[in-house]
């Protein structure tokens, strides 16, 4: 354990070396989602010229913000080859907590802080269970999904929070913005950029990728496995909490069903965005684009006159397509790399 520092440097170096090509492919992956998104929006605009009006753009962004926030947190966990299914429940409970606080005349900023803190608290629980118990994340977070949802409903009962209970400044924050760019979107982009910068530039962020690529190798290389897992889960929980507060600001209406079943939407968005379940790949930008794509489809279909009953089926098919395409590309890349390795080897022989 005295040699932790040295081997830790080695995998980082080799990752950038052999991953140059892979990196480019992954960037193309994000570009692909962007192209699909833009094509879809342009086609819809041509069909229905009212679609991309100022209000239309604002709605698109507003609809995406909450999913993007939770997706960014989820991506950080999925990158470590784990998953957090409890995000929907966390979102619901923190939205309600913030609502209760604001109804009692609390300060909006403090309300948001409370929501984030509650989310982070549940993140600690999830993270400790996963990292200390070494039990499959899927099972543990399925358990906490139930537990938090249950606590949530016991606490709520049949109560409801409506926009009338909230300070008008808070509700305004959920609707207004700079022209077509809502404040919520500004906040979300800020979070996104910080998360992306952390994952790209900081050791803690790189460790998350190392953990996801090979947990065993990461441990041997001296990555503080428990600490990093805990960080990822806390970030995920805190972002779910923040999303809860923003949900409250945006919709102004929270009951015990809020966030029910949201976990699957979040996971879909993250995976469509190119963050693989097998860990160690993808980026939060991809996850954000995935979320934007999924929420945009929900707005596009009604705009071109397709019934909303199609939304869910299309979401599912899109997810399947995304993982299938990823897999095919990954196989191609692997074959290419093998070929190149064979060539260099034969070159050495000559």
């Amino acid at each position: 354990m005295t040699m932790t520092a040295k081997p830790a440097a080695a995998p980082a170096g080799s990752a950038t070396g052999s991953g140059g090509f892979l990196d480019r492919v992954l960037k193309v992956r994000e570009l692909a989602i962007l192209v699909v998104l833009v094509l879809m929006l342009v086609a819809t605009q041509l069909d229905n010229s009212a679609f991309l009006s100022e209000q239309g753009v604002k709605d698109l962004l507003l609809n995406a913000t909450i999913l993007v926030l939770v997706g960014v947190g989820e991506a950080m966990v999925v990158i470590t080859r784990n998953v957090d299914l409890s995000v929907g429940s966390v979102l619901g409970v923190s939205a309600f907590a913030a609502g209760e606080f604001l109804r009692g005349g609390g300060n909006p900023v403090l309300g948001i802080v409370i929501a984030v803190a509650i989310g982070a608290g549940f993140g600690v629980v999830n993270g400790l269970l996963v990292s200390l118990g070494q039990v499959p994340a899927l099972v543990v977070t399925l358990g906490t999904l139930y537990i938090i949802r249950g606590l949530d409903s016991v606490w709520f009962g049949s109560r409801q929070i409506t926009a009338a209970d909230l300070p008008s400044g808070f509700v305004g924050f959920g609707h207004d913005g700079l022209g077509a760019v809502p404040w919520l979107a500004v906040l979300t982009v800020a979070v996104l950029v910080v998360a992306a910068y952390y994952l790209r530039g900081y050791r803690g962020g790189r460790d998350l990728y190392a953990l996801g690529s090979s947990p065993e190798a990461a441990r041997l290389a001296g990555v503080a496995v428990r600490k990093r897992l805990l960080t990822a889960y806390i970030a995920c929980g805190a972002l779910a909490g923040l999303a809860g507060a923003l949900y409250l600001a945006r919709f102004g209406n929270v009951d015990s069903g809020t966030g029910n079943g949201y976990e699957l939407t979040v996971v879909s968005a993250v995976v469509v965005g190119g963050v693989a379940f097998t860990g160690g790949s993808g980026s939060v930008y991809g996850a954000a684009l995935g979320a934007l794509l999924l929420t945009s489809i929900n707005s596009v279909l009604p705009a071109i006159g397709v019934s909303s009953v199609w939304v869910q089926a299309i979401d599912g098919v899109l997810l399947l397509l995304a993982i299938a395409v990823d897999r095919v590309v990954a196989l191609r890349v692997a074959a290419l790399l093998r070929e190149r390795a064979a060539q260099t080897r034969s070159a050495h022989h000559d």
Binding site: G143, R149, V309, I323
Partner: protein, 346 residues
């Protein structure tokens, strides 16, 4: 498993029949204790009507748990079962509205289940995709198709003799008639998993897929057939669900996948594959079912029941690991005197 001193094997990864047996038995004992206590102390628990409700409401989960156990033993998972139930019910309702006879509809629904399972299985085995991701995709897709098929309608006017079959009891006993087909399926499943080469192969694949492949197991075909079995049973459950609750809607059985998986994991089926017994799974299913029934009887709200389910689930995965870790720690402490009794492999 030929290791003469099993205590040393406790720290290693692999198949520990002792652990599995202990956990199954624990869940089974817990179920028996719960039933006995409920008979003794809970009013209205022991009457035939309540028991038939208990079994009838648990049957959908119990049905799907059979193939799901085998699937999880082989190291895969299917999250789309709840949606397959919904889709099968929706198609059944739609075709019934179109005036087709129920005797034609039911085989068609089963066929639909085969197709649903095939789609999952082919995506997993042929493309090599993780089953978790695939079946989250089909979870949304199947539910979406159900919504397209039936919209927000609900179909309730199924023929009376079928409705009666799916809700009536056998004679004067508390056993619902629909439990009989389930019992038949249970016997078949137990025999396949615990007494045939197919079952052994499933455990082998779950414990170490690579080794199983080299030992001559046709891994892909085996997994594909398990996905098909899961799809088929789910579709059958969809038919049963629509008849039992006399209502076919696209959102039938939403979230059922989580209940099934919770019950199966509670029954000691290891999520990593290669471990577990059907007895444990069935005990897990009925433990959760009975617990819910009892809590409703003593006026615990449905919400608090969710908490109990979650806590049980977390304990069920934590407890065996904690026990194993402390056993390993004890074994290490015990062998500290004569250093390294195990042949050094590194």
């Amino acid at each position: 498993m030929t290791d003469p001193t099993p205590a040393r094997g406790a720290g290693r990864h692999g198949f520990h029949p002792r652990d599995a047996v202990r956990w199954d038995t624990a869940v089974g004992v817990l179920l028996v204790v719960l039933l006995l206590c409920s008979f003794a102390f809970v009013d209205n628990f022991g009457n035939a009507l309540n028991l038939s409700f208990l079994i009838g409401n648990t049957l959908p989960i119990a049905l799907i748990a059979l193939p799901m156990t085998m699937l999880v033993v082989s190291g895969e998972i299917d999250l789309s079962v709840g949606s397959t139930v919904g889709l099968s019910g929706a198609v059944m309702g739609k075709l019934w509205n179109e005036g087709m006879s129920i005797e034609t509809i039911i085989p068609l629904c089963v066929l639909l289940g085969v197709v649903c399972g095939l789609v999952n299985g082919l995506l997993v085995t042929r493309l090599g995709l993780p089953s978790l991701a695939v079946t989250i995709g089909t979870l949304a897709a199947y539910r979406g198709i159900a919504q397209i098929v039936l919209g927000s309608n609900s179909v309730t006017d199924f023929p009376q003799q079928y409705l009666t079959f799916s809700s009536d009891r056998i004679g004067g006993t508390f056993v619902p008639q629909a439990a009989v087909p389930w019992a038949v399926l249970l016997v078949v499943a137990v025999m396949v998993l615990h007494a045939t080469p197919v079952g052994r192969a499933l455990f082998a694949v779950g414990a170490c897929e690579e080794a199983a492949r080299f030992a001559g197991v046709r891994v892909k075909r085996l997994k594909l057939s398990m996905f098909v079995a899961t799809g088929t049973v789910s579709a059958l459950t969809g038919v049963f669900w629509a008849l039992h609750y006399a209502s076919a809607r696209y959102d039938n059985a939403t979230g059922l996948e989580l209940s099934v998986i919770a019950a199966v994991l509670l029954g000691g089926i290891d999520f990593d594959g290669g471990k577990g017994t059907l007895g444990g799974a069935v005990a897990g299913v009925f433990l959760l079912g009975a617990l819910q029934n009892v809590m409703s009887l003593v006026n615990v709200s449905a919400q608090s029941q969710t908490v109990v389910t979650g806590v049980l689930l977390v304990i069920s995965v934590l407890a065996p690991r904690v026990a194993r870790q402390s056993a390993a720690a004890r074994a290490r402490r015990g062998t500290r005197g004569p250093r390294k009794p195990v042949p050094a492999t590194s």
